[in-house]
C-alpha cells in the first residue's frame, strides 16, 4: 500500500497526530477532564465550518475556536470547566452554530463529513508540514509546564501551597489540549477525537502506573491504533476513522480486563 502517495501521507499525518494526542490525552485522563477535551472538539466544529464560510482552511477556524474556548474554560476554571452540565450546554450550542454556518455555505456541506469524521486520506504535504509544526509546538509547550501540571493535577491544595500558579497551569494546559484536538481532528474528525486522545491513554494507565512508562505507552498505543487502523481501512475499504475507533475501544477494554484480572490475582496473593 506504500506505493500510493496518499497512503504515505496518511501514515505520516496520522503518526504525528497520534503521538501528540496520546501524550496530551494522558494528562487529560489523569486530570479527569476528558469531557472538556470532547467539548473543545465540538466547539472546533463551529470554528471549522465558520472558517469555510469566510474562505479560510477549516484547520485555522478549528484552531482559533478551540484555543479561544480552551483559554476561556481555563480562566473560568472552577466555575465551568469541571461542570458537566455547563460544558454540555456550550458544546451543543457550538454544534448548533456549526450547523448554521453550514447552512449558509451550502457548497461546503460535502466537507462537513470530513470535519466531523476526518479525512486522513486527503492529506497533502502542506498539511503534514503544518501538523508537524503544530505538533512540535504542542509538545514543547506541554514539556515546559509538565512538572507543575502533574503536581497541580495530583494535589492541587498542596501545589497551591508550594507556589504553583494553579489557574495559569490549568489554562495553559487547556490551550495545549486545544492544539492537540485540532491536530487529532484532522485525522479522525471532531466527533472521534476520543479515539486517539482518551482511548490509548486510558488503556495505558490501566496497564502501567509509572509516569514515563504510562506516557510512552499512551503514545505507542495511539500510534499503533492509528497505523493499524489505516492498514485495516486499506484492506477492507472501511472508513479509516471507523477502524481507529474500533481499535481504540478494543485496546481500552482489553487493558481494562487485563488490569482487573491482575488486581484479582494480587488480592488472592495477599489473602494467602
Amino acid at each position: 500500500m506504500f506505493q500510493y502517495e496518499f497512503m504515505n501521507n496518511a501514515f505520516a499525518a496520522a503518526g504525528i497526530a497520534a503521538v501528540v494526542s496520546g501524550v496530551v490525552g494522558y494528562f487529560l485522563v489523569m486530570r479527569g477532564q476528558t469531557f472538556a477535551g470532547h467539548a473543545l472538539s465540538h466547539i472546533g466544529f463551529a470554528g471549522a465550518t465558520g472558517a469555510g464560510l469566510i474562505g479560510l482552511a477549516p484547520l485555522w477556524g478549528l484552531l482559533g475556536f478551540t484555543l479561544a474556548a480552551g483559554v476561556a474554560m481555563g480562566v473560568l476554571s472552577e466555575r465551568i470547566s469541571n461542570r458537566d452540565v455547563a460544558i454540555g450546554v456550550v458544546l451543543s450550542l457550538a454544534l448548533g452554530f456549526g450547523l448554521l454556518f453550514l447552512h449558509y455555505y451550502t457548497s461546503f456541506a460535502t466537507q462537513a463529513t470530513a470535519i466531523l469524521f476526518g479525512n486522513v486520506l486527503a492529506v497533502d504535504h502542506g498539511m503534514i508540514a503544518t501538523l508537524a509544526v503544530l505538533g512540535a509546538v504542542t509538545l514543547l509547550a506541554l514539556g515546559s509546564i509538565m512538572r507543575p501540571l502533574i503536581f497541580a493535577s495530583l494535589q492541587p491544595e498542596l501545589a497551591e501551597a508550594k507556589g504553583v500558579p494553579l489557574r495559569f497551569v490549568s489554562t495553559a494546559f487547556l490551550a495545549i489540549v486545544a492544539l492537540a484536538v485540532s491536530e487529532c481532528a484532522q485525522i479522525v474528525g471532531v466527533l472521534l477525537v476520543f479515539t486517539l486522545m482518551v482511548g490509548p491513554p486510558a488503556a495505558a494507565q490501566r496497564l502501567t502506573t509509572g509516569l514515563w512508562s504510562g506516557l510512552g505507552l499512551a503514545a505507542a498505543l495511539a500510534l499503533a491504533e492509528a497505523w493499524l487502523g489505516l492498514t485495516l481501512a486499506y484492506h477492507t475499504d472501511w472508513p479509516v476513522s471507523f477502524c481507529i475507533a474500533v481499535l481504540s475501544a478494543l485496546g481500552y477494554f482489553a487493558a481494562l480486563s487485563a488490569s482487573a484480572r491482575r488486581s484479582r490475582a494480587g488480592r488472592a496473593n495477599e489473602a494467602t
Binding site: M30, G32, G143, S144, I145, M146, R147, P148, I150, F151, A152, L154, Q155, P156, E157, L158, A159, E160, A161, K162, G163, V164, Q205, R206, T209, G210, L211, G214, S263, G266
Partner: protein
C-alpha cells in the same frame, strides 16, 4: 523563637473574617491539637500560616517572619478533597510530583530523590506503597502516603489538616502514633486538626480551640472547660470527664460526635467561613 505566632490577627475569606483579633504563640517541638466546630477556621488558619491568606489586620509570623508561600520548612497535609477515585499513578510518582513540583519543565526524579522518598515511606511504615497505584489504596494507606510526603525535606513545622478523616478507629490510632513518634524524634512542631479530642489526649502538648472567630491556646485543663468552650461555641456547653475521656456536651448531646457524623454526610465538609451550625 516561636514557630507560629499570631498577634491580634484577623484572617478572612472574601471579606468575611473567620478569625478576628486572634493572638497566640506556639513554641518549637510542641504538638498542638487544633479543634473546633466546622467553619471555625482550622483550614483557614493553616492557609494563613502557609502564606496563602494574608491577614487583613494584625500579624502572622512563622519562624519569626511573615509567612512565605512555598516555605520548605513547612510540611503540609491538606484535607483530602480531590484525590480522583481512579488515579492510576503509583505512590512513588505521586510523592515525586511534589518534589520541586513548582519548577517548570519536565519532571525528573534523581536517584537521591527516590532514596529519600523510600526512606520517608519506610519511616511511616509504608514502603510497599511506592509501587502501588493510588486507586488501589485504602483511605488509611493514602493518608499514610500523604503523611510521608509531608515529612519529606526535613520540615520543622507540620500542618496536618484533618488527617484522621476517612480512617477507621484502628487506623486513626496508628496515624497518630506515627506522627507522634516521627515528630518527637525530629523535634518537629505539629498542628494537628481533628474533630475529636479524646484520641489526641495522650499525645498533644497543648490544644488550640477555635470557634466564634476566636482562638484559645492552652493545656487541656485550661481550655477544655465549660466557660471557655461556651464562649467559643456560642452556646451552653458542659464538659464531662469520665474514665480518662472528655466529652464536650451541648444540651445533652456530644458535640464532637455530632460534628463527626455530620461530616461524613457532607463530602468532608469544607472548612470555610460563613457556615453556621446549630446544635
Amino acid at each position: 523563637m516561636n514557630v507560629v505566632e499570631l498577634d491580634r490577627a484577623t484572617i478572612g475569606i472574601a471579606g468575611h473574617s473567620v478569625l478576628s483579633n486572634v493572638s497566640f504563640a506556639i513554641g518549637p517541638g510542641e504538638f498542638i491539637g487544633v479543634l473546633g466546630p466546622n467553619g471555625a477556621g482550622k483550614t483557614t488558619l493553616m492557609r494563613a500560616i502557609l502564606g496563602l491568606l494574608p491577614p487583613s489586620a494584625g500579624q502572622v509570623r512563622v519562624f519569626g517572619s511573615s509567612p512565605q508561600r512555598g516555605d520548605r520548612a513547612i510540611g503540609y497535609l491538606p484535607q483530602v478533597r480531590t484525590v480522583l477515585p481512579d488515579l492510576r499513578v503509583r505512590g512513588l510518582d505521586f510523592i515525586g510530583s511534589s518534589l520541586h513540583g513548582e519548577r517548570w519543565g519536565l519532571p525528573s526524579l534523581s536517584r537521591y530523590d527516590k532514596i529519600m522518598i523510600e526512606a520517608t515511606l519506610d519511616s511511616v511504615g509504608a514502603r510497599d506503597l511506592a509501587k502501588r497505584p493510588l486507586s488501589d489504596m485504602s483511605g488509611g494507606e493514602r493518608q499514610r502516603l500523604l503523611l510521608a510526603q509531608a515529612l519529606i525535606g526535613q520540615p520543622k513545622l507540620l500542618l496536618l489538616d484533618e488527617p484522621l478523616i476517612s480512617l477507621d478507629a484502628r487506623h486513626q490510632e496508628v496515624a497518630i502514633g506515627v506522627v507522634r513518634e516521627v515528630c518527637r524524634e525530629r523535634g518537629i512542631t505539629v498542628l494537628f486538626s481533628a474533630h475529636e479530642l479524646n484520641q489526641l489526649l495522650g499525645t498533644l502538648d497543648r490544644v488550640l480551640y477555635l470557634g466564634n472567630g476566636q482562638a484559645v491556646l492552652g493545656t487541656v485543663d485550661e481550655v477544655v472547660t465549660a466557660p471557655v468552650l461556651s464562649r467559643l461555641f456560642g452556646t451552653d456547653i458542659s464538659v464531662v470527664r469520665a474514665d480518662g475521656h472528655i466529652f464536650v456536651m451541648s444540651r445533652g448531646r456530644d458535640v464532637e460526635r455530632v460534628e463527626h457524623s455530620h461530616e461524613h454526610g457532607h463530602d468532608h465538609g469544607h472548612d470555610h467561613g460563613g457556615h453556621e451550625h446549630h446544635h
